[in-house]
């Protein structure tokens, strides 16, 4: 019975992919928005989490306006999926300049262009992080943490789609202790989304002035391996048009106090992310329970 359900899900997903690949982009976006509206109606829990997170961040104090932002953020998530599936259509070398504006400091560009250097890029669930990963893979292969899907058939299909560009998924839970180090040792790019609840391995760092358990991975890898680290975001400026912005390299020298070093880096990353979110709060994934106190 379970297998039958998985096949049914897989069939539905294939249909969605087919429509996404064949329908005009504007129509696909309309369908995605409609689906997001349906989801919004059904998922009351996420609605409330999104609204409360926005109020807590101080970006909006009025519950009705906060709810409106959370709804647009739900639409954004649907757009992320559509854009990611269509990204190969508009990220080809011949058309890339029509769709992307890139703000990249010289020090980051130098690292990307150096075949002997790896890079850690830390980012959040803002705008379309998948497009940013796709663009940066023109320099070096990119590896990022992904959670395996419950349906193995869909998982396989998604992997095939991802392989259209040089992206390698790293399973979230894996016995291989060196999986991050291998990426850096291969002089590849390690892309890490650090803005989800980190649980036990997190460090409490202020996010919009409220402590949130923040993943230490990017900071520790930078401190231990001396691999260059920067923040990046991908802001949607129009239909299929994005601005990808990189921060300068974060230079954190080791003080001998591990926790203080990590804190300094994570504070810097959270500040960069907050600044990015303030640009357009409707492009952030507010439905995640980042604060759990």
């Amino acid at each position: 019975m379970k297998r039958l359900c998985q096949f049914a899900e897989y069939g539905f997903f294939r249909c969605v992919l087919f429509l996404c690949d064949t329908l005009p982009y504007a129509v696909t976006c309309l369908v995605a928005r409609g689906t997001a509206n349906l989801w919004w109606l059904v998922d009351k829990k996420r609605r409330i989490v999104g609204r409360d997170n926005i109020i807590r961040s101080g970006i909006e104090t009025d519950p009705k306006r906060a709810l409106a932002i959370a709804k647009k953020a739900c639409h954004n998530m649907a757009l992320v999926i559509v854009e990611s599936l269509r990204s190969t259509d508009f990220l080809g070398e011949d058309r890339i300049d029509q769709h992307l504006q890139i703000q990249i400091p010289d020090d980051v560009k130098a690292v990307l262009e150096d075949p002997e250097q790896s890079l850690i890029i830390a980012s959040g669930h803002y705008g379309n992080w998948e497009v940013a990963g796709h663009w940066v893979s023109r320099y070096k292969p990119v590896a990022g943490i992904t959670r395996a899907m419950n349906n193995p058939y869909i998982e396989e299909l998604v992997k095939k789609r991802k392989s259209r560009y040089r992206f390698r998924p790293i399973p979230k839970h894996d016995g291989n202790t060196g999986r991050f180090l291998e990426v850096l040792d291969n002089n590849e790019i390690l892309a890490l989304l650090f803005d989800q609840h980190a649980g036990d391995y997190g460090m409490m760092i202020d996010f919009f002035a409220h402590p949130a358990a923040t993943f230490k991975t990017a900071a520790m890898l930078h401190l231990v391996t001396r691999t260059p680290l920067c923040f990046a975001s991908c802001h949607r400026v129009g239909p299929m048009k994005f601005e990808i912005t990189f921060s300068p390299l974060i230079q954190q020298t080791r003080s001998g106090n591990k926790n203080e070093d990590i804190k300094a880096i994570l504070n810097s990353l959270n500040r960069d992310l907050e600044k990015t979110i303030r640009q357009d709060p409707t492009q952030y994934l507010w439905g995640h329970r980042r604060w759990r106190d």
Binding site: T177, G178, L181, M220
Partner: protein, 85 residues
């Protein structure tokens, strides 16, 4: 100092580091050069803490790639001695 003395000293230092940072409660009475990385509860994240602390406490920088295939505490100690600890 003989290699055996060095081994004992570093083993003690490593135990101190791990007692501070370990997220599990290993059997410290059984802690030895034969102890496996796995039994100490080290994963891809906590091993980074270990590498940072080794550099601060013992003063030796281990290249991350060097520890990729390490399976026991004894192998880490050998690496540290080879690097002048």
């Amino acid at each position: 100092m003989t290699d055996t003395d060095k081994q004992e000293t570093i083993l003690g230092q490593l135990r101190g580091i791990l007692e501070e940072s370990s997220t599990v409660e290993p059997d410290w009475d059984a802690f030895s050069t034969q102890s496996t990385i796995e039994s100490l509860g080290l994963d891809s994240l906590t091993i980074l803490d270990l590498l940072y602390d080794i550099e601060e406490v013992i003063g030796i920088h281990l290249e991350a790639k060097e520890v990729l295939n390490v399976t026991t505490v004894g192998e880490i100690i050998e690496m540290l001695i080879a690097k002048g600890a």
